[in-house]
Symmetry: C2
């Protein structure tokens, strides 16, 4: 008799397990269960359907060769039996059966398994706010909700949208509703930055500037306390702890949590993060039951702590491993390094490994370096700037993570991927300084920004480069007192002039190459903040001044470019 | 007295050593020697100056903040003394002196050193062809030659150009002279492929197709035997072993060789590749003499054999290490993995690590897999195809290299960089299958092509995927005999129809999802070649047929997409 594999959950991981198991051993009998009607859709694509980048929701449920992945597709092409609109209500581990309920007929039956796979994913966190059941208030967890939102937008029913939560989905939705549909959009976030826990505040700030530039009303450190509706139960406004905001669409994007109820009820081990525990073969505490995707926790390959890291991409890779193992193989999935990418209007941001904040939190003696540099040879046309931040442990010199923001998302991905490739092997800063990525002027600099940021971190650890982060720069600038601090602009006069004109005598210009002749202009008793466009010339100036015994200096990390991206340029008033 | 560092050679590595040594220890006294007038130029940018992408040659000699890196720049900004147009004629190692000759005055003098750095680079190989001294025949080794070529082009003096050698410079120059200047361009290559030794023939073929598409006259396996001039000694034609080609500009791009004469005469150890031997600190056999860049050999980190690998990017990274060490530090440069990138018209190509050919040559039991897939989620708009080839050792499952061709060069770089980051640590195929690169639909697929190509290689090693390379496909197709071979197109009818109409009965259509019903149409005694657009559906078909006991099948690797890119589509006659 053929081996029975039953998979609960038919999005991302589930279908991957099913197809892989069948390909690994076409004699297995695979059944895929899902409580919803829509299955095997690309959930990460939902915001791009709302934005209009993807015109037909069917595209999210189709293969790359335009076949819709519905029940008959799985049956015909993949040899997989699908039961949609069917809920798994209990697992009988002793007899190896799953109790199924047909949601249309209510009929229940037992489904026997040799191997069970839990692909139950994550469910949206519904914030505890009065009014979230009103019409026009929705999460964005499946194609049906996406279609409702898009219908409302395309029928002109939405003029004010409030999005609660500035995580990746919140950001993508803010762009989606404001850009194509011209909706007045408010993004509400309890924390003091967007993408909290995902990007460090300095990089997050660059994206906040981009949001404001595109007229998204970003409200940080502000909490929705109530959602109000009209007589028909249709939403009309969101009340926060600071104001009232009109709204005819409210999108709840306050994150997700692992969907573990079935596993818990079956007595499977739940880990410290609240997600299902699995071993390296992705087996739960019951070896006949595998689990993967957004409902499991895994070891973080850098911190060695268990992490719950929901990601459609991890789910796909894990799905292949589970599919192989369910069909009798023995593959492993060792853990997670924590990668992330998001596109927001004209900027892209991403990360491989840990942020500086996460590294400190994990107990590392973490030091960061920020560099802004062109993504191609500086003489090659069409270049764009990338901001990269490398984080390493001071004692072991081990690289812990790379984050970045850039205009060219693929060029950013290229640098993040290089570190993603190295991270599982505990690379040192020196490894990254010498990392040999392919070079030609249309692709990178001869000393690529990836090597440069490692060198900057080395210089920082040696005390040769004493950086000043942009937010600290702005604080120092705002709080400056004469006779205490001097901003020394080492750029050419054309760039420096507007600053000197406006902020003299606190801001002076001595071009870097004339610094040794200009020493007489420098006061001995003040702290000097060295400023250039990108932080490179100001670093060189710091070296020269150190040599002259002038050591009370700070180098503006990333230069004026970083200040501008962060929306902290003293020449422009903040809004 | 301050430490004297003397550097011979002021392009790429030399200036980097100088600036780094000074920054590491501003008390050192650095002297930079070069026999040419132009120094510190971005040699890799020269073809882009000729093409017009860069309008002013000065851009190649400038910093990213538009300061020309001339003698006074180095003196003022970097504390480095430059002697250009000065030749180092001999090294007196016992007394630690270099003999210098001023090329303008002829005056000679000894220059004492504590540390000497050889940055003598590479020199163009001048092929032994009668006529290479004619006017209009030139290498492309410095800005002066580039300026002469561009002058001739811009003054309309060139209607026919012959480029000898289809390496990276030959390709970039073919694009430069043909695209902007509309010059009838012939590219001559002795080997049977472009980029010999750099890319495998199948990927090189994709670039050859791109050359032809842009009307570059590519002549492979053809040798220039003589260059003829007119009465004034100006070139008029190139005679090959097969024809005569009119030419008023001949560019010799037959490669470079390490410039080691000074080192050899000084008795320093030369390695098996003909380049200077150095240790991991980049010291030559004389510990007071460092060498780096295009004149040294290094261990290959994969083959462990010494390799000579000229690259402006390696030179820059090595320059920093030598600069640190010359100033008293102790950094290492462990070796080379062999990375490469080139842009050619609308395609980009590149490599991290070994090609399949190089892996076999190095004694590995190498197996390759080729995949063609979109660079973003398949539902996200604006995607382009990438062709990736992964090479690994069958026994150890160690990944040896990744090569690729793509329309979006940055997206290609992203995948190559991921492998570049991992290569020094001996990753396995399984590592790449699970490699966690940042994911979001605008950047990659949930199962990115990088993971997919590793999975395809796994399937190939397991015998589940039995691929047929495009050139073998074409051979089988051309030599097909009825009753021996059948091409089974598993795409939808719309894609398959033109092939069936033209090549029936040798080409039939059974869409993949109906394959199990269509088994009756398949002959039992023929070899089947399974064909789809990208090689994915045809692989699935192979699995299904295996299960039915039909195992004499081959899966066209990369599908019709690969066939088209290689210019081998049976529907189109080859030129």
């Amino acid at each position: 008799m053929s081996r029975k594999i039953v998979i609960i959950g038919a999005v991302a991981l589930g279908p991957k397990v099913a197809c892989r198991a069948y390909r690994a051993d076409p004699t297995v009998q695979v059944t895929l269960i899902d409580q919803n009607r829509d299955i095997s859709y690309g959930g990460c694509g939902i915001p791009f359907f709302v934005s209009g980048d993807i015109s037909d929701i069917k595209a999210l449920m189709s293969t790359s060769f335009h076949l819709v992945r519905d029940e008959s597709f799985f049956k015909e092409a993949k040899g997989v039996l699908v039961h949609s609109q069917t809920r798994a209500t209990a697992i009988n581990r002793r007899d190896r059966k799953v109790r199924l309920q047909d949601l249309l007929t209510g009929r229940e039956e037992d489904c026997p398994y040799d191997t069970l796979v839990l692909a139950t994913g994550a469910v949206p966190v519904k914030p505890n706010i009065p009014g979230i059941a009103l019409e026009g208030v929705t999460t964005l967890s499946n194609p049906a909700e996406a279609q409702l939102i898009k219908n409302a937008l395309s029928q002109g029913q939405v003029t004010h949208c409030v999005i609660i939560g500035a995580g990746p989905i919140g950001l993508e939705m803010a762009q989606a509703v404001s850009e194509l549909w011209g909706v007045e959009t408010t993004l509400l976030e309890i924390q003091d930055q967007i993408l909290p826990g995902i990007l460090d505040p300095d990089l997050a700030r660059m994206l906040s500037t981009e949001l404001k530039r595109h007229e998204v009303n970003l409200l940080l450190e502000e909490r929705a306390v109530r959602i109000l509706g009209d007589d028909q139960g249709k939403v009309i406004k969101v009340i926060t702890d600071q104001r009232e905001i009109p709204a005819d669409l409210v999108i709840l994007a306050a994150g997700v949590r692992p969907n573990t109820s079935l596993a818990e009820e079956a007595g499977l081990t739940i880990g410290s993060t609240g997600a299902i525990s699995v071993n390296e073969f992705l087996q739960t505490s019951d070896p006949d039951i595998y689990a993967g995707g957004d409902c499991i926790e895994l070891p973080h390959l850098i911190t060695r702590q268990p992490v719950w890291y929901p990601s459609g991409s991890l789910a796909n890779r894990q799905g292949r491993v589970i599919g192989t193992n369910a069909a009798g193989g023995r593959e492993t999935f060792p853990g997670v390094t924590g990668s992330f990418a998001v596109k927001l209007f004209d900027l892209s941001a991403g990360r491989s490994g840990l942020t500086q904040a996460a590294a400190l939190q994990a107990g590392f003696d973490a030091q960061e370096a920020l560099v802004i540099q062109a993504d191609r040879a500086h003489f090659y046309p069409g270049q764009e700037l990338i901001a990269l931040k490398l984080v390493a442990d001071r004692k072991t010199r081990r690289v812990l993570g790379l984050s970045g923001v850039a205009k060219n998302g693929d060029a950013l991905l290229a640098r993040l991927n290089a570190i993603a490739g190295a991270l599982p092997y505990q690379p040192t800063i020196e490894d990254v300084a010498n990392l040999e990525i392919p070079y030609s002027p249309p692709f990178s600099g001869a000393m690529d920004i990836l090597n440069a940021v490692a060198n900057t971190l080395k210089n920082t650890l040696e005390g040769k480069n004493r950086p000043l982060a942009v937010d600290q720069f702005r604080e120092l600038f705002e709080g400056r007192k004469e006779n205490e601090i001097l901003f020394v602009d080492v750029r050419g006069p054309r760039n420096a002039l507007p600053y000197v004109q406006r902020f003299s005598p606190d801001w002076i210009n001595i071009p870097g190459e004339t610094l040794t002749q200009g020493l007489g202009d420098l006061p001995k008793n003040k702290r000097l903040v060295l400023v250039c466009n990108s932080g490179v010339r100001s670093y060189e100036a710091q070296i020269v001044l150190d040599q002259e015994g002038i050591t009370n200096t700070l180098n503006l990390a990333g230069g004026i470019a970083a200040v501008k991206w962060a929306g902290l340029n003293p020449l422009e008033e903040e809004d």
